[in-house]
């Protein structure tokens, strides 16, 4: 039972354009969501998060949107840069539980120069 799903295994965009990575979840008890970026042979690096009381959070080139009714969140990267090429994981958390993160399968983003 996959509670967090990233249905696109890969995405390729041109440098300077927008990258949109999507994530869907099924558990309505999740109240905090995070995006991590992962390079090969490294651990996941925290990018940006959003609480369920918000519908948007922005940090520089990165914006996360949350649609609670659709149980959907997305990460927008504008403008995309070649250094953004990595695997991106969406993760969800129920802060009233033990705090364990439930991860999606990841989306590999390739930004072409």
């Amino acid at each position: 039972d996959q509670q967090v799903k990233q249905n696109s295994p890969s995405l390729s965009v041109q440098e300077g354009r927008i990258s949109i990575l999507n994530c869907d979840y099924t558990n309505s008890m999740f109240d905090y969501f995070l995006w991590y970026k992962k390079y090969p042979a490294e651990g996941p690096t925290f990018l940006i998060s959003i609480s369920s009381i918000k519908d948007k959070n922005e940090d520089g080139r990165f914006t996360v949107f949350l649609n609670k009714s659709a149980k959907h969140l997305s990460l927008h990267i504008v403008p995309s840069q070649p250094g953004d090429s990595a695997v991106y994981f969406c993760a969800a958390l129920n802060t009233r539980n033990t705090g364990k993160l439930i991860f999606g399968q990841g989306t590999t983003l390739q930004v072409k120069p």
């Binding site: 905090y32 651990g43 996941p44 994981f89 705090g99 364990k100 993160l101 999606g104 399968q105 990841g106």
Partner: protein, 112 residues
């Protein structure tokens, strides 16, 4: 260093051997988590500590897996009698409370 560190970074074990993986969390972080990541998948939760108390071990796949954090800082994940299906990257993460988790580089375990 300011981040989470893990050792060893790579471990090769023969089937049946015991292994011990170490995690040094960010200083002052109360919460510590262990995850297992198989190739091509997202990390999967193994266990959670709040200080020295192991509050959730629901993700440990078998009784061959054991974790401890005796003084509320460094943690060790031990796998007894390793099997080939234990081959994975083992990630440790820490957080101040139950919020953003910061990950270490992971230990890649290969069981032959």
């Amino acid at each position: 260093g300011a981040g989470v560190s893990q050792s060893p970074r790579y471990k090769v074990a023969k089937r049946g051997q015991d292994v011990a993986l170490r995690c040094d969390p960010i200083s002052g972080h109360v919460s510590l988590f262990w995850y297992q990541q198989a190739l091509g998948q997202g990390p999967e939760f193994l266990t959670y500590f709040q200080n020295e108390a192991q509050l959730d071990k629901s993700g440990l796949p078998s009784d061959r897996f054991f974790a401890e954090r005796p003084e509320g800082s460094v943690s060790t994940l031990k796998i007894q009698r390793t099997q080939q299906e234990d081959s994975a990257v083992y990630l440790c993460a820490s957080s101040l409370m139950l919020d953003t988790q910061y990950f270490g580089p992971g230990t890649r375990l290969t069981v032959l």
